[in-house]
């Protein structure tokens, strides 16, 4: 028994650091780890880096976050959810907050959000300006999304109706 232990420890220290005591097992572990990370990224959680000011002050530029891809497999986005919206692919996505649900009418009056004609409280909005937008009806498979930074000029702020198929998932942090 002692002899076996001595044999296992016989590998030089640098080899143990680099490839472990059993290189085959180390290689297998690395392969499993890489495949696991790729599967996680593809189907479960997508790491993202926030770039831009449209979600201030909730998310600052360069902040790291994760998107839960499974969030809407069985359910639908809810008002207040921060979601990632796909463009041509997933290398660059829009990060916005859902404010309007399917069938609702969304409107902005002097910076205040109105859903179906009623003023809606938005505690996450800290930066405001006097946006005005005539009522917009949200389609049956659409969600109205907008950023938290309402101090931006209306023309510079991407917001509008996103189809559910374009919503990749919900921001975790």
């Amino acid at each position: 028994m002692t002899a076996v232990v001595q044999e296992n420890n016989s590998a030089p220290w640098w080899q143990v650091i680099l490839v472990g005591r059993n290189p085959r097992w180390t290689f297998l572990r690395i392969v499993i780890l890489i495949i696991g990370v790729m599967l996680m990224r593809q189907f479960v959680v997508l790491p993202i880096r926030v770039d831009g000011i449209s979600m201030l002050p909730t998310y600052k530029s360069n902040a790291v976050n994760f998107v839960n891809r499974l969030a809407y497999v069985y359910g639908k986005p809810q008002r207040g959810d921060v979601v990632a919206i796909r463009m041509a692919g997933e290398h660059i996505m829009l990060m916005k907050r859902v404010v309007g649900l399917p069938g609702e009418t969304v409107e902005f009056r002097r910076g205040e959000l109105f859903i179906d004609g009623e003023a809606t409280d938005e505690p996450y909005v800290k930066l405001r300006s006097r946006w005005n937008m005539p009522p917009v009806k949200v389609g049956p498979d659409e969600f109205y999304v907008v950023g938290d930074n309402r101090s931006m000029a209306w023309a510079d702020h991407k917001q509008g109706r996103a189809s559910k198929s374009k919503i990749v998932g919900r921001a975790i942090l």
């Binding site: 831009g52 041509a88 997933e90 660059i92 829009l94 000029a153 510079d156 991407k158 917001q159 109706r161």
Partner: protein, 166 residues
């Protein structure tokens, strides 16, 4: 048994090499278009030190990616819809932009190419990221490039903005 296994492995290696070689020599149209668009993005980018003659030359070179009767309809933030038609107008606009802006970095992080069954026309759905020198915010837009194969080259005959959010 070992002999058969070796022969099988050798055959597999030959087939793999053949497949790889075929793909390198005769790339799929999707691959060609993707490569071409990435090259176009690099050519559309310029830095502060670009010489005036290089500005002209690169704008002309950029024009070679487009068909004679190209149409460009873009929704630019704060500028509304901008429409250009014809390669000459496009080259002039590109040259003017190169003269006015200090620098521009154009990238296409996502390109999804669909080739029509006739293999003569194709559509590329592209995410365009542009950083203009001196501006803090980057410009991000989804665009659709329509291409057609003319005299063996894939040329862009239409570019239009796609509204990610309606």
């Amino acid at each position: 048994m070992r002999k058969w296994l070796n022969a099988g492995l050798l055959l597999l290696a030959v087939f793999s090499l053949g497949f790889l070689g075929f793909n390198v020599l005769f790339p799929a149209p999707q691959k060609v278009i993707r490569k071409q668009l990435l090259a176009m993005a690099r050519l559309a980018s310029f830095d502060v030190n670009e010489a005036p003659l290089a500005k002209l030359a690169n704008s002309q070179k950029l024009g070679s990616y487009f068909a004679d009767r190209v149409e460009v309809a873009l929704d630019l933030p704060g500028r509304g819809q901008q429409v250009f038609s014809g390669r000459e107008e496009l080259i002039q606009t590109a040259t003017a932009a190169r003269m006015q802006l200090s620098s521009l970095n154009v990238q296409f992080p996502d390109i999804v190419v669909t080739v029509a069954s006739d293999k003569r026309t194709a559509e590329a759905h592209v995410t365009v990221k542009a950083i203009i020198g001196g501006q803090r915010e980057m410009y991000i837009e989804e665009m659709r490039f329509s291409l057609e194969k003319l005299r063996g080259d894939w040329l862009i005959h239409r570019i239009e903005s796609v509204n990610t959010l309606k």
